[in-house]
């Protein structure tokens, strides 16, 4: 079973990396968007899923990454060289936000992050060096889609691998302990603030790099696109739809949401019902299955196990 899983992962990685040789540009574009979604969802899941700290302010990190890259490229730096700096800046910002915000628990933390995300957007739209609300255009001549495609794919693969590593490590187990019962975790000697800060910084750095690649690929960024609240919302929705705290869940959720988006955009009739679908899904899942698609899968498996096994329970007891 484990072998099948590894083989499947390897096959999908090989497929997306070799896709440019046999797929056309439009499909590759869709794949790029999918990989972005997978990256964002998996990165958010490190803090939101593993540690259970639901943040609605992740567009701030994407925006920091995108603006770092755009501002430096406009001053003549090679865009791909700005990625490490974007990651470091976002990580530092995440610590600055996290230090006070992690004193808050559960929904209070969530509300505080909405405030941070909105404050950052408003600031980016009104200070002058970011180009205000009209945004920034990347310097001409820095565009090569093949580069962008491969870097996005590699980032997505690395993010999934990172999430898998974190989940298995002692660090991931500490995060799980914090999610399940923060007081018990503290009693066991886990410095919850430090672990939450580390998880926040790690996922913020990944999201910032994704933001840099976003700026490089779209060539134009504005507060309304990279700092948008809708974006923060999407980042949260994907793991929730797929299954918070699992490895496969965010990937699944990202695939579902992006496919929906691509399909809906091609159907003029349904183009205006994004929010119905998002909102409806959210209401449905929270009412009936807060663990998302993965939770539904577990239920189905449990159901079939119950049917497959003959009723020996009473005989055993007797």
């Amino acid at each position: 079973m484990k072998f099948v899983r590894y083989a499947f992962c390897l096959a999908s990685a090989l497929f997306v990396l070799s896709a440019p040789f046999f797929l056309e540009r439009g499909t590759l574009n869709d794949l790029w968007n999918l990989a972005l979604a997978v990256t964002l969802a998996s990165a958010w899941n490190i803090l939101g899923g593993f540690a259970g700290q639901v943040s609605l302010g992740y567009s701030a990190f994407l925006g920091i990454g995108a603006y770092t890259t755009a501002l430096l490229s406009l001053r003549g730096v090679d865009p791909f060289l700005t990625l490490p700096l974007a990651a470091v800046l976002a990580a530092l910002f995440s610590v600055a936000i996290g230090l006070p915000a992690f004193r808050l628990r559960g929904p209070y933390f969530t509300i505080a992050t909405i405030g941070v995300g909105e404050a950052v957007r408003v600031c980016a739209a009104s200070v002058s060096f970011t180009g205000g609300s009209s945004g920034l255009r990347m310097p001409a001549g820095s565009f090569d889609f093949n580069h962008n495609y491969f870097s996005m794919m590699i980032l997505a693969i690395l993010t999934i691998a990172l999430a898998a590593y974190v989940k298995k490590s002692a660090f991931g187990r500490a995060l799980a302990a914090i999610r399940q019962d923060i007081d018990a975790a503290e009693a066991l000697g886990i410095n919850s603030t430090r672990f939450k800060l580390a998880a926040h910084a790690l996922s913020a750095a990944v999201v910032a790099v994704a933001g840099s690649l976003y700026a490089i690929n779209f060539q134009y960024i504005a507060p309304g696109s990279v700092f948008d609240f809708q974006l923060s919302l999407n980042i949260v929705l994907m793991p929730i739809i797929g299954g918070v705290g699992t490895l496969v869940g965010p990937v699944l959720g990202a695939l579902i949401v992006s496919t929906l988006q691509i399909k809906l955009l091609s159907m003029p009739m349904l183009r205006d019902s994004f929010l119905f679908i998002y909102g409806g899904l959210l209401i449905f899942l929270m009412l009936f299955e807060p663990k998302g698609v993965m939770g539904i899968r577990d239920r189905v498996i449990a159901f079939f196990r119950r049917i497959a096994r003959p009723r020996t329970g009473s005989a055993d007891a007797a």
């Binding site: 808050l104 929904p107 009104s126 019902s273 909102g279 959210l282 209401i283 929270m286 009412l287 807060p290």
Partner: protein
């Protein structure tokens, strides 16, 4: 020179007071629901937006004045709130004393659905209500203020006074306060907490609708409208200590003074004004988790210790 300073001060104070009335109304809707059910109603923003659009519909279809429309809007949204509670309420009530992430996300979903409903019915275009008095102004203590903001203030005060009487003088009010203070104890003494929660959710939703209706007479709106007001309301109830009417009023006044003061006395651009309240929300959550009443209690204890 002195008189202009004085004039400016009076103007800031008056504008703060007028804004605080509206802020208190919209924040109170959030506070009553939080108090009784321990949930943060993210759908509040959607309800405010809907309140604005219903007022707009009443105004354009039936030529009903926005402020007269409140008589229709308030009961309508009360019923809407009770309906929402009946649909989702039992799943929303948190088991412990802290709100659950699930309820937060559920109500977020409701907000999105409301937004899309408004898009479908009224499209995404910016709408506004232009009455005969929208652009008129009057003079109070030497300061010119817009007539609609005066009406909004009066309507806010009226609804808050009504609410205070309801809470202080009736059985329903006592029951709401009892459930807010201690749900289990209220249940033990025979209060039907489920029914009280439904009514409280209705009252909270009605106040959001009223706030939305009043906002519609002050500014233009789109289906996306309401998010910054949700954050402001939240900031206010955090400052006000989450539960009491007086606390909410104090929180509203603090936010309004801060916004108007910054606009008048510093060179912070108006586009950054919203960032001020978001930052204040963050600071208040972190530094004053129990709000201004908590801060007062700390001072009180210090004085007692001396």
């Amino acid at each position: 020179m002195r008189s202009t300073l004085m004039q400016q001060f009076v103007s800031v104070a008056l504008n703060s007071l007028l804004a605080a009335g509206l802020y208190a109304t919209m924040a109170y809707g959030l506070a009553v629901i939080y108090g009784v059910m321990r949930i943060i109603n993210l759908a509040h923003a959607g309800v405010m937006m809907l309140g604005a659009y219903v007022t707009y519909a009443l105004f354009t279809r039936f030529a009903i004045d926005p402020f007269l429309g409140l008589v229709i809007v308030a009961p309508l949204f009360f019923l809407f709130g009770v309906l929402l509670y009946k649909l989702f309420g039992r799943r929303m009530a948190a088991p412990g004393n802290a709100p659950s992430i699930e309820s937060l996300l559920l109500l977020f979903g409701v907000w999105l659905v409301l937004q899309n409903t408004a898009y479908v019915i009224w499209t995404g275009d910016t709408q506004s209500i232009l009455t005969s008095y929208t652009l008129k102004s009057m003079e109070i203590a030497g300061v010119r203020v817009g007539l609609p903001s005066v009406f909004v203030f009066l309507a806010s005060v009226a609804s808050l006074v009504f609410l205070n009487v309801l809470l202080k003088r009736t059985y329903l009010g006592k029951a709401i306060r009892a459930v807010t203070q201690n749900r289990d104890a209220a249940l033990l003494s025979g209060v039907n907490a489920d029914r009280i929660s439904a009514i409280a959710f209705g009252i909270g939703t009605a106040f959001a609708g009223i706030a939305g209706a009043m906002l519609s007479s002050l500014m233009a709106f789109t289906p996306d409208f309401g998010r910054s007001f949700l954050l402001k309301s939240f900031c206010i109830i955090v400052l006000g200590g989450m539960e009491s009417v007086t606390g909410v009023a104090a929180g509203a006044l603090v936010l309004a003074i801060l916004e108007n003061g910054l606009a008048a006395y510093t060179s912070v651009p108006t586009s950054l004004q919203d960032a001020v309240s978001f930052a204040l929300l963050f600071v208040a959550l972190v530094v004053l988790p129990r709000g201004l009443p908590g801060l007062l209690a700390v001072f009180e204890r210090r004085r007692a210790a001396q």
